[in-house]
Symmetry: C2
Subunit: 416 residues, 2 copies
C-alpha cells in the first residue's frame, strides 16, 4: 500500500476525500467564475489559487487553465501534467509542508460551493457488462434457460447514449412522457412513464484523444482513462420496452443521466485493483489482458421518499464486472472509432449475485413481482415522484479510504 501521509487539513474520519484521493471537479462560489477544484475532506482546494501562488511554475501550465468551465483543456495537457498537479497538491496538503498554512484562500468549504458538470462530454457510450444484470434482464424478458444472447460472452455489448442530458448530482429531473403499450392492447398511448428506474453504474472519462482508424490495446487503455465517476443511467422501462426493437434504447434512456461531480483519478484507484472474473469461453486476442483490471469499489443505492428517511436498497461492487474498462475501450476502438477527451463510457448496471445487490428497481423488485418495502411503510416497484435516488461508492483497504461522494437527484412530476 501507499506510504502513510497525514494532512494539516482537518479531514473527517471515513471521508471519501482523503489525502490519498484528491479527485478533480469544477466548482464556483456565489457568482464567481467556474474553477478547477480538488476535494479534500469537507473542503475544496481552489487549484487556481494554488497556481496564482506560483506552485505550478515548474510544470509550465498557464494559470488561466484552472479558471475554466470544464476540465477538458486541463485533461488534454496529458496524464504526466495531470498527475504532477495532483501530487503537488498532495505535497502542499501534507503535514510536512507548511507553505499554504496561512493561505486561507486556497480552501473553500464544500458547503459554500456549487459543483458543476466536470467535463464537456462529447460522446457517451453505455455498456452492458455485468453478467448478473444481463442474466436477470434476459430471464425476465426473454428465455430463463438462455438468458444471455449468443454474443454476450464474446464482446462487451454497448450502445450510444445521449450526452446533452447528462447532468451533475443535485440537478433534479422530470419524469419522462412517451409512448407506452399497455397490457392486452395493440396500439400505444402517450402518457407519463409509470416505470422510471435508476441504474447503478460507474462511468470513466477519456483522458487522451485517439485518431480515427486507430485501435487502443488493453495494455495501453489506462493511458486513455482520466478517471471515474458514479453514474445513474435513468431509464423508463415502459417507454424502452415498446421502442427498443430493433435499434436499441432511445427515449427510454435519453431524458437524463446523472453523474457525480468529482472525477477520481485512475492513479488514486490503483491500490484497489483486483482480479476480474474468469472469462469462459476464451476471448478473442484483442480482448485478452494481463494483470488486474477490476477494481474493488463498494457501491450502494439509497431511495429517500418525499415523506420518509433514506433507505439503502442495494449494496453492490464494481469488482463484479465481467468486462473491464480496458476491454471496453479496446472493443470500442477495434473498428477505428476515435475517442475524445471528456467522452464518457459507462459500465451498464452493476448487479451482484445476491438479490440485495442488484443495480436497478427492475431487478430488485423483479419486474414488479417483489415490491420493496420502505421504512415509512410505502411500497416501491419503480421510482415515484419526489423520490430522491442517491448512489455512493468508495474503496477501502488498510484503513485508507478513496471514495466518490455521491450522485443524487430527485424525480419531479412530468412537465405539462
Amino acid at each position: 500500500m501507499a506510504r502513510k501521509i497525514t494532512s494539516w487539513v482537518d479531514i473527517p474520519k471515513d471521508s471519501d476525500f482523503s489525502i490519498y484521493n484528491l479527485p478533480f471537479g469544477i466548482f464556483s462560489v456565489g457568482n464567481g467564475n467556474k474553477k478547477i477544484g480538488i476535494a479534500i475532506g469537507d473542503q475544496i482546494v481552489d487549484v487556481s489559487a494554488i497556481a496564482e501562488l506560483g506552485h505550478f511554475e515548474d510544470l509550465k501550465v498557464d494559470k488561466k487553465t484552472f479558471v475554466t468551465t470544464y476540465l477538458n483543456d486541463f485533461i488534454n495537457l496529458g496524464k504526466p501534467v495531470n498527475t504532477a498537479v495532483r501530487l503537488k497538491v498532495q505535497d502542499l496538503l501534507s503535514d510536512k509542508n507548511s507553505s499554504l498554512l496561512d493561505q486561507t484562500q486556497v480552501l473553500v468549504p464544500q458547503s459554500e460551493a456549487h459543483m458543476h458538470l466536470p467535463v464537456r462530454i462529447g460522446d457517451y457510450t453505455d455498456f452492458y457488462s455485468s453478467i448478473e444484470h444481463a442474466t436477470n434482464v434476459g430471464k425476465m424478458f426473454r428465455d430463463p434457460e438462455n438468458a444471455l444472447l449468443p454474443n454476450w460472452k464474446h464482446l462487451p455489448v454497448g450502445y450510444h447514449g445521449r450526452a446533452s442530458s447528462i447532468v451533475v448530482s443535485g440537478q433534479n429531473i422530470y419524469r419522462p412522457k412517451g409512448q407506452v403499450l399497455l397490457p392486452d392492447t395493440k396500439a400505444p398511448v402517450f402518457q407519463a412513464s409509470s416505470k422510471v428506474d435508476f441504474e447503478l453504474e460507474m462511468g470513466f472519462i477519456i483522458g487522451k484523444n485517439s485518431r480515427m482508424g486507430e485501435s487502443i490495446t488493453t495494455s495501453d487503455a489506462e493511458d486513455y482513462i482520466f478517471g471515474k465517476v458514479l453514474f445513474n443511467d435513468w431509464s423508463a422501462r415502459d417507454i424502452q420496452k415498446w421502442e427498443y426493437v430493433p435499434l436499441g434504447p432511445f427515449l427510454g434512456k435519453n431524458f437524463a443521466s446523472s453523474i457525480s461531480p468529482w472525477i477520481v483519478t485512475l492513479e488514486a484507484l490503483e491500490p484497489f485493483k483486483v482480479q476480474g472474473p474468469e472469462q469462459e469461453p476464451e476471448v478473442l486476442p484483442y480482448l485478452t489482458y494481463s494483470g488486474q483490471k477490476n477494481y474493488d469499489i463498494h457501491l450502494e443505492v439509497g431511495i429517500k421518499p418525499k415523506n420518509g428517511e433514506e433507505n439503502i436498497v442495494s449494496r453492490s461492487n464494481f469488482k463484479y464486472m465481467y468486462w473491464n474498462m480496458a476491454q471496453q475501450l479496446a472493443h470500442h476502438t477495434c473498428n477505428g472509432c476515435n475517442m475524445k477527451v471528456g467522452d464518457v463510457l459507462a459500465s451498464g448496471t452493476i448487479s451482484g449475485k445476491e438479490a440485495n445487490s442488484y443495480g436497478s428497481m427492475l431487478e430488485l423488485a423483479w419486474g414488479g413481482q417483489k415490491p420493496i418495502i420502505l421504512s415509512n411503510g410505502e411500497e416501491r416497484k419503480f421510482i415515484e415522484d419526489f423520490d430522491t435516488v442517491i448512489l455512493r461508492g468508495y474503496c477501502k483497504k488498510d484503513n485508507i479510504r478513496v471514495g466518490f461522494g455521491e450522485v443524487r437527484a430527485q424525480v419531479l412530476p412530468a412537465l405539462n
Copy 2:
C-alpha cells in the same frame, strides 16, 4: 415561387449554389484562419470580409463571430440574425447592388479553399424513417410477410450514433475491423469487414437549444432547425449483424459518417416543400402536423472504383420519407430530451419504391444476391477498398435550383 434575382457573380448554369440557396459552411485558405463562408456558384463569399466592410453593423453582430472554427456560435445568435445575414449577402450579390463590385477579397474560388466540418456536433441521432428501407431490411433479415415491426408506424424509430467520427466530405475513411460470425460457425472471428456499405441519408442541424423536460411541438419544430446536409452513414453489415442484439448498432456504424460541408438553410428549401405520404394508422396527437413538411430533394449515389469511371447506382428522393423532420424532433423531445445547437439528426437510409432508388448496397444488391455491375465490368455486392462513394442532392422548380453539392469519401484498406 420566389421573385427572380440575378447576380453579378458568374454562376454556372445548374450550379447547386444559386443566389436562392446561399448555404453556410466553414472554410480556410492555405494556413489562414477558419471562417464562415457562403457558397455562390464556384465561389465562396468570405462572410468575415463582408463584416469587415461594415455591412452587418445594423445587426449588431460582432465581426469576430465570422472568424471561427465552427458555425455554432453564429447559429446560436438565433434564426432572425442568421436569416438577416443571409438576406444581406443575397442583396449584396444581386445585380441591383454594386457595393462589392471592387471588393475582390470577399470572393474566394472554391477550388482554392479547404472545407471543414461546419458545426461542432454535440449529439448525433439516426432515425429509420423510410418505410421502403425498413421494409426491405425487414424482408431480408426477418419475416417477408411482416417486414415492419409493430412500433414502426406508431413512432419514428431512432437511435443514438457517434458524433466524434462524423467527418466532412473529402476525408477518406478506413475499412473497419471487428467481430464477425461467419456462416455455419458459432464463435466469431476478428477481421476486416467484408460488408462495408454506404447509407444515403440527409441530416438536419439543430439551430436552437431546448431545455430538459421541455418538448418541441411539430408546429414549432422548424424554429429549431438551422438547415440540412447530405449524410453518408457508413455501415459494416457483418459487424452490425453479430453485435446489434439487443441494444442496437454500435461498432457496425460508429467508425465513420460523412457529411457535406454546406448547410442549406430551411429558408432556402421552403419553396420545395411537398405533401408527405399518408400515415395509416393515425398517429398519436403529439405527432400530428399541419401543412407540408416533406421536401422534394433529388438524391443520387455514385460509386467510383479505383480503376474506372463513376457509376450512378441509385436515384432517390427525400420526399419519400414516411416520418418528417418535425415529427422526428417532436418525438425526440416528447420525453424532455434536450436539443443543443449543432446536434445532427439524420433521416435513416432514404430508399424509394423502385429497385434503382434504394439507398444502400444492402438493398441495391439485395444482400449479395443481385450484384451491381459497374461500367468497368467489376461486380459490387458491397463497397471495396479504394472505391469512392459520392452522394449528391438538389431541388429544382421553375428553373430555380437549390442544391447540396456532394459528400464524397474513399474507403481505404483497414489499418494494421
